[in-house]
């Protein structure tokens, strides 16, 4: 087999930080090559070098594609050769149709007038190739994230792709959509299209990859030929973090006390469709020192439940009662919720959790500036001291607390968000997907922090779509589906199968209700 791509001795540094050191990376023709590593290991940087985002001269080393040394000045140069990168953040225009999105940059046209018939026909062909049956004039905003991802791939296919680079394509997809996407990659391999797959999900990688390369601290530390040797998850994780993860979850002996947070008959309506009940009369309780997981599929209402509790930050016509530390409270604003001792760590840290342009220090103190201020005046020295304390305690990797938060890796950004909420000194923390999109090592650190919080007697609620994580961290797991709790398990008796069954059983009932077999 011949190599379609060879990157030799690639090094790249940013303002004194070495992001890549002498990386060698080879992709054979028609191969699916998985690239794994912690966040900040240099995967994205390597791909940006490859796709010309960092132009020739910005890095050291050489890129050989199709047997010739290439010097890309920008992304257009690499695209012209068929190197297409699909970023984690999708680059689709929501209010345009699928066809318009696919042919956004170079629509087939005659004398500058777009040839709509050709666009339509070609789009249909491309959609068929990625296994979508949608009409080409469907608006992208009407598609789910999984299908949007496939549209993005169809767009790549419209450009005579030779090497497809996917940066965490399944991070926000459910299992079905992920499986469909991976099947596409296998189909492309059969057509001779090589792919580079960046992913944190080792099970996916093991399923489709022909070769796995592990990056750590900007170096290639391991490369596994999946057809010649067995893929051991432990070996990959060990190379990624250079630490034996005999236990992927830190141990904790729970000392569970009195109820610290109780919710009764909580009902929330949709803010736009005010007649639609999103949360349906839910009861919920967390005890001191307890970690309670909320499992469920996307759209089950878990985030809506959490945000409505958090000072009514979501929803309309909210009713129900809340007790914090045995005292009934009426949380009508986020500020009131924070004062009462509730903290909600948002799911989407970039959109809802952080001010990316502001430095680490300002983000950490944002929700509790009063603690470092006197009569409305910020004491910058005490602010600096507090921020630095959290930086050390949470092991946030940044050059200093004046570093802009947007420059940090996902795991470190998440630690900044956590620091912000710990500084409010909450009695109860609700963590919404706290480990989404962060690497194995950072996940472990987040679990340790959760354990410390529980040991300090706080009540912790963890919403997560990763069942192994819930099983590994929580004392009790509640299963939510369609705005109500449909199952509850103690840690000892919970298994992935039982949780899934609780969700599915409920779905079947729904189906029967719809078909008229059962009266609700």
């Amino acid at each position: 087999m011949t190599a379609i791509l060879e990157m030799r001795g690639v090094s790249k540094s940013f303002a004194g930080v070495q992001a890549l050191r002498d990386v060698n990376f080879t992709v054979e023709a028609g191969q699916i090559h998985a690239l794994v590593g912690e966040n900040g290991a240099g995967k994205s940087t390597l791909m940006k070098v490859l796709s010309g985002v960092y132009p020739d001269g910005d890095y050291e080393g050489s890129i050989i594609f199709d047997g010739e040394e290439r010097r890309f000045r920008d992304v257009n140069d690499s695209e012209a050769l068929g190197i297409i990168i699909i970023h984690q953040e999708l680059a689709l225009v929501p209010l345009m149709s699928i066809a318009e999105n696919i042919f956004l940059s170079h629509p087939p046209s005659r004398l500058g007038v777009i040839d709509r018939d050709t666009v339509y026909r070609r789009t249909q062909e491309l959609l068929a190739q990625v296994g979508l049956t949608e009409m080409p004039d469907t608006l992208v905003t009407d598609l789910g994230v999984g299908k949007q991802q496939l549209v993005e791939i169809a767009k790549a296919l419209s450009k005579r792709v030779r090497l497809l680079i996917l940066d965490e394509p399944t991070a926000s997809l459910n299992e079905n959509d992920s499986a469909a996407l991976l099947d596409r990659l296998l189909a492309f391999r059969a057509q001779g299209i090589a792919s580079i797959l960046i992913s944190h999900k080792l099970s996916e990688v093991a399923r489709v990859a022909d070769r796995i390369t592990v990056l750590r601290d900007g170096r290639t530390v391991d490369s596994i030929d999946c057809r010649a040797e067995p893929v051991e998850e432990d070996r990959i994780i060990r190379s990624m973090v250079n630490r034996d993860l005999a236990h992927r979850f830190p141990q904790r002996t729970a000392t569970i006390g009195a109820p610290v947070f109780a919710v009764q008959d909580w009902t929330v309506h949709h803010p736009l469709h005010r007649d639609r009940r999103v949360i349906k009369g839910v009861d919920f309780e967390v005890r001191r020192g307890e970690v309670v997981g909320i499992a469920g599929l996307m759209g089950a209402g878990r985030t809506e439940f959490a945000m409505s509790l958090f000072g009514r930050a979501w929803g309309e016509r909210i009713s129900g009662r809340i007790w914090l530390d045995g005292r009934e409270v009426n949380l009508t604003s986020v500020a009131a919720a924070i004062d009462a001792g509730l903290a909600y760590v948002t799911e989407d840290r970039k959109e809802l959790g952080l001010i990316l342009d502001a430095d680490v220090r300002k983000n950490i103190t944002l929700a509790s500036l009063g603690r470092v201020a006197r009569q409305g005046r910020i004491d910058d020295m005490s602010e600096l001291r507090v921020a630095s304390e959290y930086r050390n305690r949470m092991r946030i990797r940044c050059s200093d607390v004046y570093q802009v938060t947007g420059q940090l890796s996902g795991g470190n950004q998440q630690k900044v968000v956590l620091s912000k909420w710990l500084m409010t000194d909450p009695k109860v923390l609700i963590l919404d997907e706290p480990t989404r999109g962060i690497d194995v090592g950072a996940k472990y650190e987040i679990y340790c922090i959760i354990n410390e919080l529980a040991e300090a007697g706080k009540g912790v609620v963890m919403i997560s779509s990763e069942m192994p994580e819930l099983l590994g961290v929580c004392d009790r797991i509640c299963v939510m589906n369609d705005g109500a709790f449909v199952g509850e398990f103690a840690a000892a008796e919970a298994t992935q199968e039982r949780i899934m069954r609780a969700i599915m059983r409920n779905k079947e009932i729904d189906k029967k209700v719809l078909q008229g077999d059962l009266r609700p």
Partner: protein, 393 residues
């Protein structure tokens, strides 16, 4: 905790940041030098310098409010009309109804606050884009000014009111000949105070283990700062002393500089512009604060309108027309971001001064109003381009 654990701002970052800050100031000095040479020294003649201050005071005052609006991610196109309208209200109250100056003054500021509140309400609570709300306000108050003046100029104002713009602080040590000693002294005291506070803050940072600028650099900077302030105070003192309006302006600049950098409310305003949803989920009352920035803008626009009316000594239906453009341009030249979350009071003030010096300098050179606008437009574009370029590096 040891010194080592306190975060140190990187040396390179420190110099880069400061270069950006001083870059703006250096541009101002370069422009002043240019016009000083081109006008054969007319620009910095004491009389002209005093005029320069008086001509631009209302722009600077409004730029302070506009900066906060822009930082929250909004814009206010109505400030010129509000200033004009409030000037008209002042004229009607004082000239037509002979209401006492202090009472009328307060009433006018209240009118400004009410207008700001009315606009801020739609923007903050109804989420109507500020561009549209204030475009409407611009038309409404321009029209209302015309209406209550019945299309005519109303004046003159009582002499006490005129002092707001054309007055100078009283001289405590008469007999120093042509030099107004009090003004010079105030300038010197201000210079000493500024150098003293920056030395104190430097020492405090050093005691916490934070990297500070090199001592030589600090001394040189302080010396230049001291010299520049005393030099300008000397120029001002050799004409008629400190204009009242300069005192008001300086106090406001200090106040807003403090609020934006050192207070909780200031930090919250920047957070709203940086990421409104994250701010609101952090317990910041984003709607109320947005509302208040518009109320604040209304008050400052009213104050500017009073200063302008006092300076002209008459209220005209056309007063305030186009001010909003100079004010917004000042903020953007001063480095504020159109996307919100970024901008400094010092920058906005320097931006206003750059506009002012250019207006004044070009007028002295006899450049027509036509090409003045062309040049100002290009300077605005150039300044913002340079800023964007700097941020990308």
């Amino acid at each position: 905790m040891t010194d080592k654990t306190v975060a140190l701002p990187g040396h390179a970052g420190f110099i880069k940041n400061n270069l950006r800050n001083y870059g703006m100031l250096l541009s101002l000095f370069a422009i002043m030098l240019f016009f000083q040479v081109m006008t054969d020294g007319t620009l910095l003649q004491p009389l002209n310098l005093t005029n320069l201050v008086l001509q631009n005071s209302y722009i600077v005052i409004m730029a302070l409010g506009m900066l906060l609006i822009i930082v929250t991610g909004h814009i206010d196109l109505s400030v010129g009309s509000i200033a004009g309208f409030v000037g008209a209200v002042a004229a009607v109250l004082m000239v037509r109804y002979h209401i006492a100056y202090p009472l009328a003054f307060i009433a006018c500021l209240l009118v400004g606050a009410l207008i700001g509140a009315a606009q801020g309400y739609w923007v903050a609570y109804f989420k109507i884009p500020s561009f549209i709300v204030t475009l409407a306000g611009m038309l409404v108050f321009k029209g209302l000014a015309l209406a209550i003046l019945a299309g005519q100029s109303v004046g003159p104002f009582p002499p006490t009111f005129q002092k707001l713009s054309s007055g100078f602080i009283p001289e405590l040590f008469p007999g120093a000949g042509t030099l107004y000693l009090t003004s010079l002294l105030i300038g010197a005291v201000l210079a000493v105070a500024l150098v003293y506070t920056s030395a104190k803050s430097r020492a405090r940072q050093a005691s916490h283990g934070i990297e500070v600028e090199p001592f030589g650099f600090f001394v040189a900077k302080s010396a230049v700062l001291f010299a520049v302030i005393v030099f300008f105070a000397g120029l001002i003192a050799s004409h008629r002393g400190l204009p009242n309006v300069l005192v008001i302006m300086t106090a406001l600049i200090a106040l807003y500089g403090f609020v934006t950098t050192r207070t909780v409310i200031g930090r919250h305003i920047y957070a709203i512009g940086g990421n409104a949803r994250a701010a609101s989920l952090s317990g910041i009352k984003t709607e109320r604060l947005t509302f208040l920035t518009f109320v604040n803008m209304g008050v400052l626009a009213a104050l500017a309108g009073l200063v302008f009316a006092a300076r002209l000594n008459t209220a005209t239906p056309k007063a305030g027309a186009g001010f909003e453009l100079d004010v917004i341009a000042a903020c953007f030249i001063g480095g504020a971001s159109a996307y919100g979350g970024v901008g400094k009071v010092g920058g906005a003030v320097i931006g206003a001064m750059i506009m002012g010096v250019m207006n004044n300098g070009m007028s002295i050179l006899g450049i027509g109003i036509d090409y003045q606008q062309v040049i100002k437009g290009l300077v605005l574009l150039g300044a913002v381009c340079l800023d964007v370029y700097n941020q990308r590096r």
